[in-house]
Amino acid sequence: MNSGPALVSILRQGDTLVASVHTALDDSEMIRFQNDLVRQIGEVRARGIIIDVAALDVIDSFGSRTLRSIADIARLRGATTVIVGIQPEVAFAMVRLGMDMGQVPTALDLEEGLAYLARLRAVGAS
Protein backbone atom coordinates (compact mmCIF):
# COMPACT_ATOMS: atom_id res chain seq x y z
CA MET A 1 0.00 0.00 0.00
CA ASN A 2 1.62 3.22 -1.05
CA SER A 3 -1.19 5.72 -0.63
CA GLY A 4 0.26 6.96 2.62
CA PRO A 5 0.50 4.94 5.81
CA ALA A 6 -2.39 6.39 7.74
CA LEU A 7 -5.31 6.18 5.33
CA VAL A 8 -5.71 2.50 4.60
CA SER A 9 -4.02 -0.76 5.51
CA ILE A 10 -4.21 -4.03 3.60
CA LEU A 11 -3.10 -7.15 5.43
CA ARG A 12 -2.86 -10.66 4.12
CA GLN A 13 -4.11 -13.54 6.22
CA GLY A 14 -3.78 -16.82 4.33
CA ASP A 15 -5.88 -16.47 1.22
CA THR A 16 -7.81 -13.56 2.71
CA LEU A 17 -7.03 -9.86 2.38
CA VAL A 18 -8.17 -7.63 5.21
CA ALA A 19 -8.39 -4.00 4.13
CA SER A 20 -9.09 -1.45 6.83
CA VAL A 21 -9.97 2.12 6.02
CA HIS A 22 -8.64 4.25 8.84
CA THR A 23 -10.02 7.63 8.00
CA ALA A 24 -12.32 9.52 5.66
CA LEU A 25 -11.13 9.21 2.06
CA ASP A 26 -11.79 11.71 -0.66
CA ASP A 27 -12.74 10.50 -4.12
CA SER A 28 -9.20 10.31 -5.50
CA GLU A 29 -7.97 8.46 -2.42
CA MET A 30 -10.90 6.10 -2.76
CA ILE A 31 -9.94 5.35 -6.37
CA ARG A 32 -6.33 4.76 -5.35
CA PHE A 33 -7.52 2.42 -2.62
CA GLN A 34 -9.59 0.51 -5.18
CA ASN A 35 -6.62 0.19 -7.54
CA ASP A 36 -4.23 -0.94 -4.80
CA LEU A 37 -6.66 -3.51 -3.47
CA VAL A 38 -7.54 -4.91 -6.89
CA ARG A 39 -3.84 -5.23 -7.73
CA GLN A 40 -3.16 -7.15 -4.54
CA ILE A 41 -6.12 -9.46 -5.11
CA GLY A 42 -4.40 -10.54 -8.31
CA GLU A 43 -0.96 -10.74 -6.75
CA VAL A 44 -1.86 -12.93 -3.80
CA ARG A 45 -4.72 -14.80 -5.52
CA ALA A 46 -6.99 -13.95 -2.65
CA ARG A 47 -10.18 -15.99 -2.21
CA GLY A 48 -11.72 -13.68 0.35
CA ILE A 49 -11.59 -9.93 0.94
CA ILE A 50 -12.79 -8.10 3.97
CA ILE A 51 -13.15 -4.34 3.82
CA ASP A 52 -13.53 -2.79 7.24
CA VAL A 53 -15.24 0.59 6.98
CA ALA A 54 -15.96 1.08 10.70
CA ALA A 55 -13.92 4.29 10.69
CA LEU A 56 -16.01 5.94 7.98
CA ASP A 57 -18.52 8.46 9.29
CA VAL A 58 -20.00 8.97 5.84
CA ILE A 59 -20.46 6.55 2.98
CA ASP A 60 -21.98 8.59 0.18
CA SER A 61 -22.95 7.58 -3.35
CA PHE A 62 -19.37 7.60 -4.56
CA GLY A 63 -18.14 5.61 -1.56
CA SER A 64 -20.88 3.01 -1.91
CA ARG A 65 -20.28 2.64 -5.61
CA THR A 66 -16.56 2.23 -5.20
CA LEU A 67 -17.04 -0.49 -2.59
CA ARG A 68 -19.42 -2.27 -4.93
CA SER A 69 -17.02 -2.04 -7.87
CA ILE A 70 -14.26 -3.52 -5.77
CA ALA A 71 -16.55 -6.42 -4.88
CA ASP A 72 -17.60 -6.85 -8.52
CA ILE A 73 -14.03 -6.93 -9.79
CA ALA A 74 -13.01 -9.30 -7.00
CA ARG A 75 -15.89 -11.62 -7.87
CA LEU A 76 -14.73 -11.74 -11.50
CA ARG A 77 -11.38 -12.86 -10.14
CA GLY A 78 -12.97 -15.57 -8.04
CA ALA A 79 -12.84 -13.81 -4.67
CA THR A 80 -15.69 -13.01 -2.28
CA THR A 81 -15.81 -9.56 -0.68
CA VAL A 82 -17.46 -8.87 2.68
CA ILE A 83 -18.02 -5.29 3.80
CA VAL A 84 -17.86 -5.05 7.58
CA GLY A 85 -18.28 -2.37 10.22
CA ILE A 86 -20.90 -0.10 8.65
CA GLN A 87 -22.04 2.06 11.56
CA PRO A 88 -25.74 2.33 12.46
CA GLU A 89 -26.05 6.00 11.44
CA VAL A 90 -24.11 5.39 8.26
CA ALA A 91 -26.34 2.45 7.36
CA PHE A 92 -29.43 4.59 7.88
CA ALA A 93 -28.07 7.47 5.83
CA MET A 94 -27.03 5.09 3.04
CA VAL A 95 -30.51 3.68 2.59
CA ARG A 96 -32.02 7.16 2.80
CA LEU A 97 -29.65 8.22 0.11
CA GLY A 98 -30.83 5.26 -1.94
CA MET A 99 -27.65 3.20 -1.85
CA ASP A 100 -27.26 -0.40 -0.88
CA MET A 101 -24.56 -3.00 -1.29
CA GLY A 102 -26.51 -5.03 -3.84
CA GLN A 103 -25.51 -8.67 -3.56
CA VAL A 104 -22.32 -7.86 -1.67
CA PRO A 105 -22.44 -9.58 1.72
CA THR A 106 -22.08 -7.44 4.84
CA ALA A 107 -21.23 -8.33 8.42
CA LEU A 108 -21.20 -6.57 11.76
CA ASP A 109 -17.43 -6.47 12.22
CA LEU A 110 -14.15 -8.09 11.27
CA GLU A 111 -14.80 -11.14 13.45
CA GLU A 112 -18.17 -11.75 11.83
CA GLY A 113 -16.71 -11.16 8.40
CA LEU A 114 -14.01 -13.77 8.95
CA ALA A 115 -16.62 -16.20 10.31
CA TYR A 116 -18.70 -15.62 7.18
CA LEU A 117 -15.78 -16.41 4.89
CA ALA A 118 -14.93 -19.49 6.98
CA ARG A 119 -18.50 -20.78 6.66
CA LEU A 120 -18.41 -20.15 2.95
CA ARG A 121 -15.20 -22.13 2.60
CA ALA A 122 -16.65 -24.96 4.67
CA VAL A 123 -19.71 -25.14 2.44
CA GLY A 124 -17.63 -24.86 -0.70
CA ALA A 125 -15.35 -27.63 0.49
CA SER A 126 -18.17 -30.16 0.70
Binding site: D57, D60, E89, A93, L97, M99
Partner: protein
Protein backbone atom coordinates in the same frame (compact mmCIF):
# COMPACT_ATOMS: atom_id res chain seq x y z
CA UNK B 1 -7.89 64.13 20.13
CA UNK B 2 -8.50 61.36 17.76
CA UNK B 3 -12.14 61.16 18.64
CA UNK B 4 -12.59 64.75 17.73
CA UNK B 5 -10.50 64.29 14.63
CA UNK B 6 -12.86 61.63 13.48
CA UNK B 7 -15.79 63.84 14.27
CA UNK B 8 -14.24 66.66 12.28
CA UNK B 9 -14.15 64.59 9.18
CA UNK B 10 -17.86 63.97 9.40
CA UNK B 11 -19.29 67.02 7.75
CA UNK B 12 -22.97 67.64 8.21
CA UNK B 13 -23.86 66.41 4.74
CA UNK B 14 -21.60 63.43 5.05
CA UNK B 15 -23.13 61.83 8.06
CA UNK B 16 -25.11 59.38 5.98
CA UNK B 17 -22.28 57.40 4.45
CA UNK B 18 -20.57 57.31 7.82
CA UNK B 19 -23.71 56.21 9.49
CA UNK B 20 -24.18 53.41 7.04
CA UNK B 21 -20.61 52.24 7.35
CA UNK B 22 -20.93 52.40 11.09
CA UNK B 23 -24.16 50.61 11.42
CA UNK B 24 -23.20 47.89 9.04
CA UNK B 25 -20.59 47.02 11.61
CA UNK B 26 -22.73 47.74 14.58
CA UNK B 27 -25.98 46.10 13.72
CA UNK B 28 -25.33 42.44 14.20
CA UNK B 29 -28.74 41.80 12.79
CA UNK B 30 -30.28 43.85 10.08
CA UNK B 31 -33.20 41.59 9.90
CA UNK B 32 -34.75 43.24 6.89
CA UNK B 33 -31.54 42.79 5.01
CA UNK B 34 -31.49 39.18 6.16
CA UNK B 35 -34.98 38.73 4.81
CA UNK B 36 -33.91 40.07 1.50
CA UNK B 37 -30.92 37.80 1.41
CA UNK B 38 -33.07 34.82 2.17
CA UNK B 39 -35.45 35.78 -0.59
CA UNK B 40 -32.62 36.22 -3.05
CA UNK B 41 -30.69 33.22 -2.02
CA UNK B 42 -32.31 30.89 -4.49
CA UNK B 43 -31.49 33.19 -7.33
CA UNK B 44 -28.47 32.36 -9.33
CA UNK B 45 -25.66 34.64 -8.35
CA UNK B 46 -24.90 37.12 -11.09
CA UNK B 47 -22.50 39.96 -10.32
CA UNK B 48 -23.62 41.94 -13.35
CA UNK B 49 -27.20 42.16 -12.15
CA UNK B 50 -27.95 45.60 -10.69
CA UNK B 51 -29.70 46.05 -7.36
CA UNK B 52 -33.40 46.03 -7.92
CA UNK B 53 -35.64 48.93 -7.06
CA UNK B 54 -36.98 47.31 -3.93
CA UNK B 55 -33.51 46.90 -2.49
CA UNK B 56 -32.71 50.52 -3.10
CA UNK B 57 -35.93 51.63 -1.43
CA UNK B 58 -35.41 49.47 1.59
CA UNK B 59 -31.84 50.68 1.80
CA UNK B 60 -32.78 54.35 1.86
CA UNK B 61 -35.44 53.67 4.48
CA UNK B 62 -32.76 52.01 6.56
CA UNK B 63 -30.41 54.92 6.08
CA UNK B 64 -32.95 57.38 7.42
CA UNK B 65 -33.59 55.22 10.45
CA UNK B 66 -29.88 54.80 11.07
CA UNK B 67 -29.41 58.54 10.79
CA UNK B 68 -32.15 59.23 13.25
CA UNK B 69 -30.83 56.60 15.64
CA UNK B 70 -27.35 58.13 15.56
CA UNK B 71 -28.84 61.54 16.25
CA UNK B 72 -30.49 60.24 19.39
CA UNK B 73 -27.20 59.18 20.94
CA UNK B 74 -25.37 61.65 23.14
CA UNK B 75 -22.50 63.53 21.52
CA UNK B 76 -19.98 61.59 23.51
CA UNK B 77 -21.53 58.24 22.64
CA UNK B 78 -21.61 59.13 18.98
CA UNK B 79 -18.02 60.35 18.96
CA UNK B 80 -16.61 57.24 20.55
CA UNK B 81 -18.70 54.94 18.43
CA UNK B 82 -17.78 56.60 15.17
CA UNK B 83 -14.13 56.85 16.12
CA UNK B 84 -14.12 53.15 16.82
CA UNK B 85 -16.32 51.83 14.03
CA UNK B 86 -15.55 54.28 11.25
CA UNK B 87 -12.00 55.39 11.91
CA UNK B 88 -11.04 52.07 13.41
CA UNK B 89 -9.63 53.55 16.61
CA UNK B 90 -8.69 50.77 19.02
CA UNK B 91 -10.39 50.74 22.41
CA UNK B 92 -7.01 51.12 24.11
CA UNK B 93 -6.30 54.28 22.16
CA UNK B 94 -9.72 55.68 22.95
CA UNK B 95 -9.17 54.80 26.59
CA UNK B 96 -5.83 56.60 26.67
CA UNK B 97 -7.38 59.68 25.19
CA UNK B 98 -10.23 59.70 27.65
CA UNK B 99 -8.06 58.76 30.60
CA UNK B 100 -10.04 55.58 31.00
CA UNK B 101 -9.41 51.85 30.61
CA UNK B 102 -9.88 49.72 27.51
CA UNK B 103 -12.41 47.60 29.36
CA UNK B 104 -14.47 50.62 30.29
CA UNK B 105 -14.45 51.88 26.72
CA UNK B 106 -15.43 48.46 25.42
CA UNK B 107 -18.30 48.35 27.88
CA UNK B 108 -19.37 51.82 26.85
CA UNK B 109 -19.24 50.81 23.19
CA UNK B 110 -21.35 47.78 23.96
CA UNK B 111 -23.96 49.95 25.67
CA UNK B 112 -23.91 52.41 22.80
CA UNK B 113 -24.40 49.67 20.23
CA UNK B 114 -27.29 48.32 22.26
CA UNK B 115 -28.84 51.79 22.38
CA UNK B 116 -28.28 52.30 18.69
CA UNK B 117 -30.09 49.09 17.88
CA UNK B 118 -33.05 50.11 20.02
CA UNK B 119 -33.23 53.62 18.55
CA UNK B 120 -32.83 52.22 15.07
CA UNK B 121 -35.80 49.89 15.51
CA UNK B 122 -37.92 52.68 16.95
CA UNK B 123 -36.95 55.07 14.16
CA UNK B 124 -37.55 52.49 11.48
CA UNK B 125 -41.14 52.02 12.63
CA UNK B 126 -41.60 55.72 13.42
CA UNK B 127 -42.80 55.07 16.95
CA UNK B 128 -42.21 56.43 20.40
CA UNK B 129 -42.40 53.84 23.16
CA UNK B 130 -45.69 54.13 25.07
CA UNK B 131 -44.28 53.97 28.61
CA UNK B 132 -41.23 55.09 30.58
CA UNK B 133 -40.31 51.51 31.21
CA UNK B 134 -40.04 50.60 27.53
CA UNK B 135 -36.56 51.99 26.79
CA UNK B 136 -34.86 50.43 29.83
CA UNK B 137 -36.46 47.09 28.97
CA UNK B 138 -35.51 47.27 25.29
CA UNK B 139 -32.00 48.32 26.22
CA UNK B 140 -31.62 45.39 28.58
CA UNK B 141 -32.78 43.05 25.83
CA UNK B 142 -30.59 44.67 23.20
CA UNK B 143 -27.47 44.33 25.31
CA UNK B 144 -28.39 40.74 26.18
CA UNK B 145 -27.78 41.66 29.80
CA UNK B 146 -29.75 39.10 31.78
CA UNK B 147 -29.13 40.67 35.14
CA UNK B 148 -30.40 43.99 33.92
CA UNK B 149 -33.38 42.26 32.30
CA UNK B 150 -34.31 40.83 35.69
CA UNK B 151 -33.84 44.17 37.37
CA UNK B 152 -36.23 45.94 35.04
CA UNK B 153 -38.54 42.91 35.04
CA UNK B 154 -38.31 42.69 31.28
CA UNK B 155 -40.26 39.46 30.99
CA UNK B 156 -43.31 40.95 32.63
CA UNK B 157 -43.13 44.13 30.64
CA UNK B 158 -43.13 42.12 27.43
CA UNK B 159 -46.34 40.47 28.57
CA UNK B 160 -47.95 43.82 29.14
CA UNK B 161 -46.54 46.00 26.34
CA UNK B 162 -47.35 45.16 22.74
CA UNK B 163 -44.82 47.58 21.29
CA UNK B 164 -41.94 46.10 23.23
CA UNK B 165 -43.14 42.57 22.60
CA UNK B 166 -42.89 43.25 18.88
CA UNK B 167 -39.58 45.11 18.98
CA UNK B 168 -38.05 42.52 21.24
CA UNK B 169 -38.17 39.95 18.48
CA UNK B 170 -35.42 41.34 16.28
CA UNK B 171 -33.47 42.29 19.40
CA UNK B 172 -33.61 38.83 20.90
CA UNK B 173 -33.01 37.32 17.51
CA UNK B 174 -29.68 39.10 17.25
CA UNK B 175 -27.79 36.22 18.78
CA UNK B 176 -24.02 36.01 18.90
CA UNK B 177 -21.84 37.62 16.27
CA UNK B 178 -21.80 35.25 13.34
CA UNK B 179 -19.72 32.32 14.44
CA UNK B 180 -22.58 30.29 13.04
CA UNK B 181 -21.79 30.48 9.34
CA UNK B 182 -19.07 28.55 7.56
CA UNK B 183 -17.89 28.92 3.98
CA UNK B 184 -16.02 26.20 2.21
CA UNK B 185 -14.55 26.85 -1.21
CA UNK B 186 -15.01 23.86 -3.45
CA UNK B 187 -12.45 23.21 -6.17
CA UNK B 188 -11.16 19.67 -5.81
CA UNK B 189 -11.87 16.28 -4.27
CA UNK B 190 -10.50 17.01 -0.79
CA UNK B 191 -12.89 19.97 -0.50
CA UNK B 192 -15.81 17.55 -0.54
CA UNK B 193 -14.52 15.99 2.66
CA UNK B 194 -13.82 19.43 4.17
CA UNK B 195 -17.35 20.62 3.40
CA UNK B 196 -19.06 17.66 5.00
CA UNK B 197 -16.77 17.88 8.03
CA UNK B 198 -17.59 21.56 8.45
CA UNK B 199 -21.31 20.79 8.25
CA UNK B 200 -21.03 18.00 10.77
CA UNK B 201 -19.04 20.15 13.20
CA UNK B 202 -21.42 23.07 13.04
CA UNK B 203 -24.45 20.81 13.40
CA UNK B 204 -22.93 18.92 16.32
CA UNK B 205 -22.19 22.20 18.01
CA UNK B 206 -25.83 23.15 17.49
CA UNK B 207 -27.05 20.00 19.20
CA UNK B 208 -27.67 17.66 16.27
CA UNK B 209 -26.88 14.06 17.06
CA UNK B 210 -26.57 10.60 15.56
CA UNK B 211 -28.35 9.90 12.35
CA UNK B 212 -29.21 13.52 11.65
CA UNK B 213 -25.52 14.45 11.67
CA UNK B 214 -24.66 11.65 9.30
CA UNK B 215 -27.54 12.42 6.96
CA UNK B 216 -26.54 16.06 6.81
CA UNK B 217 -22.88 15.24 6.19
CA UNK B 218 -23.82 12.77 3.46
CA UNK B 219 -26.08 15.29 1.72
CA UNK B 220 -23.36 17.94 1.84
CA UNK B 221 -20.94 15.43 0.37
CA UNK B 222 -23.29 14.90 -2.59
CA UNK B 223 -23.89 18.55 -3.42
CA UNK B 224 -20.20 19.38 -3.02
CA UNK B 225 -19.27 16.57 -5.36
CA UNK B 226 -21.75 17.91 -7.88
CA UNK B 227 -19.80 21.17 -7.91
CA UNK B 228 -16.46 19.45 -8.43
CA UNK B 229 -17.80 17.26 -11.23
CA UNK B 230 -20.03 19.73 -13.05
CA UNK B 231 -18.65 23.17 -12.42
CA UNK B 232 -15.02 22.75 -11.37
CA UNK B 233 -15.47 25.21 -8.57
CA UNK B 234 -17.96 26.96 -6.35
CA UNK B 235 -18.65 27.21 -2.68
CA UNK B 236 -20.72 25.71 0.08
CA UNK B 237 -22.14 27.84 2.87
CA UNK B 238 -23.30 26.15 6.03
CA UNK B 239 -25.41 28.22 8.35
CA UNK B 240 -26.99 27.66 11.71
CA UNK B 241 -30.62 28.82 11.77
CA UNK B 242 -32.52 29.77 14.89
CA UNK B 243 -35.77 30.70 13.26
CA UNK B 244 -38.46 29.58 12.72
CA UNK B 245 -36.65 26.89 14.66
CA UNK B 246 -33.18 25.50 14.99
CA UNK B 247 -31.73 24.01 11.88
CA UNK B 248 -28.83 23.88 9.48
CA UNK B 249 -29.06 25.42 6.05
CA UNK B 250 -26.62 24.45 3.34
CA UNK B 251 -26.27 26.51 0.19
CA UNK B 252 -24.09 25.09 -2.57
CA UNK B 253 -23.38 27.55 -5.35
CA UNK B 254 -21.48 27.30 -8.56
CA UNK B 255 -21.11 29.34 -11.73
CA UNK B 256 -20.81 26.28 -13.92
CA UNK B 257 -22.76 25.36 -17.05
CA UNK B 258 -26.00 24.78 -15.14
CA UNK B 259 -28.40 21.88 -15.33
CA UNK B 260 -30.56 21.82 -18.42
CA UNK B 261 -33.37 19.71 -17.04
CA UNK B 262 -33.73 20.22 -13.30
CA UNK B 263 -36.77 17.95 -13.03
CA UNK B 264 -34.87 15.12 -14.63
CA UNK B 265 -31.80 15.76 -12.50
CA UNK B 266 -33.89 15.14 -9.41
CA UNK B 267 -35.12 11.79 -10.71
CA UNK B 268 -33.27 8.73 -9.47
CA UNK B 269 -30.81 7.45 -12.00
CA UNK B 270 -30.42 10.65 -14.01
CA UNK B 271 -26.86 11.36 -14.92
CA UNK B 272 -25.02 13.33 -17.52
CA UNK B 273 -21.77 11.63 -16.71
CA UNK B 274 -21.06 8.08 -15.81
CA UNK B 275 -21.62 6.73 -12.39
CA UNK B 276 -23.54 9.52 -10.72
CA UNK B 277 -27.26 9.58 -10.58
CA UNK B 278 -28.19 9.43 -6.95
CA UNK B 279 -26.42 12.52 -5.68
CA UNK B 280 -29.11 15.18 -5.94
CA UNK B 281 -32.27 13.11 -5.41
CA UNK B 282 -30.44 11.30 -2.60
CA UNK B 283 -29.46 14.56 -0.95
CA UNK B 284 -33.07 15.67 -1.21
CA UNK B 285 -34.19 12.54 0.65
CA UNK B 286 -31.63 13.12 3.37
CA UNK B 287 -32.71 16.71 4.09
CA UNK B 288 -36.00 18.22 5.23
CA UNK B 289 -36.09 20.95 2.61
CA UNK B 290 -34.44 21.04 -0.75
CA UNK B 291 -34.43 23.63 -3.47
CA UNK B 292 -32.50 23.67 -6.70
CA UNK B 293 -32.23 26.58 -9.11
CA UNK B 294 -30.19 26.33 -12.24
CA UNK B 295 -29.77 28.48 -15.27
CA UNK B 296 -27.99 27.34 -18.39
CA UNK B 297 -24.68 29.14 -18.64
CA UNK B 298 -25.02 30.82 -15.26
CA UNK B 299 -24.69 28.12 -12.69
CA UNK B 300 -26.57 26.16 -10.11
CA UNK B 301 -27.63 26.87 -6.56
CA UNK B 302 -28.79 24.11 -4.26
CA UNK B 303 -30.25 25.25 -1.00
CA UNK B 304 -31.27 22.67 1.57
CA UNK B 305 -32.21 22.62 5.23
CA UNK B 306 -32.31 20.10 8.00
CA UNK B 307 -34.36 21.02 11.05
CA UNK B 308 -33.27 20.15 14.52
CA UNK B 309 -35.68 17.81 16.17
CA UNK B 310 -35.35 17.81 19.94
CA UNK B 311 -37.56 14.73 20.11
CA UNK B 312 -35.05 12.75 18.09
CA UNK B 313 -33.26 10.14 20.11
CA UNK B 314 -29.76 11.02 21.08
Amino acid sequence: MRVLAAEDRIEPGMIEPYAIATVRNVMATMWRRDDREVRNRHRVFDPTQPDDVENVLVASEEQLAINEALRRLTDRERQVLLAHEVSGAATQMLADEAGSTAGAVAAQLKRTRARLRVEYLLALDHIEPPTDRCRPVLLALSSADRRRQREVDAARHLLECDVCARLSEPLLDRGPVRDDVLHVTIGADPDIVSARRAARDLAAQAGFTGTDLTMLATAVSEVARNIVRFADNGDVTIELLERPRRGIRVVARDMGPGIADVEAALQDGYSTYSGLGLGLPGARRLMDEFNLVSEAGHGTTVSMTKWFDPKGSA
